[in-house]
Symmetry: C2
Subunit: 139 residues, 2 copies
């Protein structure tokens, strides 16, 4: 009875299947909370499921992201990492010490409306990473 079972209905409803591989990957992301690189996910999920392959991890992360169960994020070094989808939020990264902070989507929301009216696009999601200097590093 894993925490990942909670996600099964979401997949079934769209005609997809829950598998041990997906369970292991969701489990790892769920319990880490923070975001992990594909390789980190692979290493950790392998402990639960030694037959898991890198290929599957990459494909699964992309699949889960498309279906809203995990969220991709850009890290300080310009690579993609993934985290379990909780409340919608974005990231603020310190250019000096690398510390991170979450930015609530609420803060961004007003911007969505401005963008929609200016562009004619109907926004679905976004990928926002802000860089700067944290309070400690502003010396």
């Amino acid at each position: 009875m894993s925490c990942a079972d909670d996600y099964t209905p979401q997949l079934r409803a769209r005609g997809y299947r829950m598998t041990p591989q997906r369970t292991a990957i969701l489990h790892v992301l769920h319990h880490n909370g923070r975001h992990l690189s594909p390789i980190e996910v692979y290493e950790q999920a392998c402990r639960e499921m030694p037959t898991l392959t890198e290929t599957t991890v990459y494909r699964t992360l992309e699949f889960l992201a498309e279906n809203g169960l995990v969220r991709p994020a850009l890290t300080g070094n310009g690579h993609l990492a993934y985290e379990i989808a909780r409340h919608e939020h974005h990231h603020l990264i310190c250019r000096n010490c690398g510390s991170e902070m979450e930015v609530e989507h609420e803060l961004i929301k007003s911007m969505y409306q401005i963008l929609e009216s200016k562009s004619g696009y109907q926004l679905t999601d976004s990928h926002l990473t802000f860089f700067g200097l944290c309070a400690n590093c502003q010396s």
Copy 2:
């Protein structure tokens, strides 16, 4: 006398050097306008400079981005691409047809102030990609 010569002073001032490799890469980005993947940059710059290596392209793009001559951007498929640094802007990508639109930084500016006061961070730059459906694809 290449367009890339314009960038020489910016590098010199920081103690860096202008090289044929950097010239070729800047030239490609300058004349394409749009953003290119590292591989696309490599292929095109190779025509001007056949001895160029992929290693150098990756390192140069990262270097130029750090020094503000080019800007990294996230493409629809989640990969990094680069474009010559003109006015500061962000991207809006259609989830359906892939068409892109630039978002002026002016539109985002007010958000910077809100974020700075809420977070205590001093913002330096950001990496913003918005996804949605363009006017044509909203059927």
